[in-house]
Amino acid sequence: MTTVPATLSVRVSRAPAAGLAAAALLAVATIRLTGAGDGAAVQNVVLVFASIVMEALPFVLLGAFVSGLIEVFVPERWFAAVGRLPVRLQVPGAVVGGMAFPVCECGSVPVARRLILRGVHPAAGLTFMLAAPVLNPVVLLSTFVAYQGRDAVAMVVGRAALGAVVAMTAGWALGGGRAARLLVRPRSGEHDHDHDHSEGRAAAVGSHVAADFFFMGRLVVLGGALAALAQLAVPQNAISGVLLSPVTGGLILMAFAFVLSLCSEADAFVAVSFTVFPLGAQLAFLVFGPVLDVKLALLYGATFGRGFVLRLAAVAAPIALVGSLWFGAVVQ
């Protein structure tokens, strides 16, 4: 990466920038003038797309802030000490750490990546990434509030316990290798960069925050667009007439969790409205959604590689389903 000291002289390749701007203006003008945006399907997609992105981006940024602060302010010796701990202590420790971070799933990815880069065992980093969106106090409180009058305590305990099991199991199963094998190597000048922090800590944090936001934010936008298109393509009334056993109910809601791509801090209010489905199926929705959805699939693919997504699904889905079936049998 070529750096230019101190002055604000940035050279951007003007032709692509001008071309993109012109294309964007032309697209917007065409849509407005032809009335193409008046179609019901287009309006549906744009509204759902925009709403998913608006909900997710602040949490992506929160995670980017945490990641940047870790990078700049947490001393190397702390990570060295944590890295020397046995993995069997790091993984449950990561679960406990996840309870302290009020981030949803989008925010935990950059934090986990930063922890792994700084020497935390990959299994612990992955465990943290999967545990934080389910076990943090905001999520558990929102789950309790949403289910008040309807087995609230059981749902909170079930979500926390099953979420921890999924996180630790997936962390162990997928994080057994070295960090270099787990993380996708960033392209030159993109996203990851060595810092000597000579420009000052505030600027260093700003640089990291901007880089993480730029990297993750694009994937959230793409994921939001895919989720919106998927909602149009797979209507909810497709399940009408399907015999809802606990197994099919759990599978259907896990599929919807994947497509809806909601944030874990508010998804309990959505799950509680699925009154057609048994409680166990609703728990499967609440446990699987923060682990894997459309936008997370893109985030994971860019951070850990495309194969990671399939391996995570293969580990998390059966555990979430079996756990929710057992929960349903116990509670009901």
């Binding site: 998913i52 602040p58 700003g206 901007a210 730029f214 919106a228």
Partner: protein
């Protein structure tokens, strides 16, 4: 590159500020998660300031890939410029409703004041629950005034049509439809699908369902916040 990234953060910070100040955020996020918008303004503003600081202290060459990345990040804003004030309408009602017009995945109706005016939500929920009907005072002969959009049009003048509203919890992605059957006012022109109308009429029980016999149907503007 730092300047390109800082630009993205500044743009989003300004966009979130516009959403909040204009009230446009109500169209996209639900009441339980509305705090995300001012929260986002604070975070994006702080990040934009720090990113600009980083850009001034260390400047570097931006690649075409970064410009494309910026374009991707700004796509939601461009989409809303191209399609301002998008709505969920009859298509979404049909996609999210099961047999009988009830929400396909079930419903937990939004909290309602026991003494407030009746809405489409109350009529649908009262049709499913006698206890709800009693609690909200949904009964034969009660006069109502409903505002909603037409989700199923009448076949002709004075015919029956369906009036719908959405309720959201987290964001528009989880919107749940509520539908009330309207017996059309005699001689009244059939409102078109997706038109917002105000129906004044009388509640009537037909079997286990509450419908509204319209006395007057007028077109109306969509409310600023289209959700209940």
């Amino acid at each position: 590159m730092n300047l390109v990234r800082a630009s993205a953060l500044v743009a989003w910070a300004l966009f979130f500020a516009w959403l909040w100040l204009s009230g446009a955020a109500d169209r996209y996020v639900g009441p339980r998660t509305a705090w995300v918008v001012p929260f986002g303004i604070l975070l994006l503003g702080a990040a934009a300031v720090l990113a600009c600081l980083a850009a001034t202290s260390r400047s570097d060459r931006a690649r075409p890939r970064d410009v494309i990345g910026l374009a991707v990040l700004l796509t939601p804003m461009l989409a809303l410029v191209a399609v301002p004030e998008p709505d969920l309408g009859a298509l979404a009602v049909n996609q999210r409703s099961g047999p009988g017009g009830v929400p396909a995945l079930g419903s937990a109706p939004p909290p309602r004041s026991p003494s407030g005016p009746l809405s489409v939500v109350d009529l649908q929920e009262a049709s499913r629950s006698a206890e709800y009907a009693l609690r909200r005072g949904v009964r034969d002969g009660r006069r109502v005034e409903l505002l909603g959009f037409v989700s199923r049009a009448a076949s002709g003048a004075g015919g029956d049509f369906d009036l719908a509203r959405f309720s959201i919890f987290c964001c528009a992605a989880d919107a749940v439809p509520y539908v009330a059957r309207i017996r059309g006012a005699a001689g009244a022109a059939a409102p078109r699908v997706d038109a917002w109308v105000r129906v004044r009429g009388i509640v009537r029980r037909e079997g286990d369902r509450f419908v509204v016999v319209a006395e007057r149907v007028t077109t109306d503007r969509a409310p600023e916040n289209p959700y209940l």
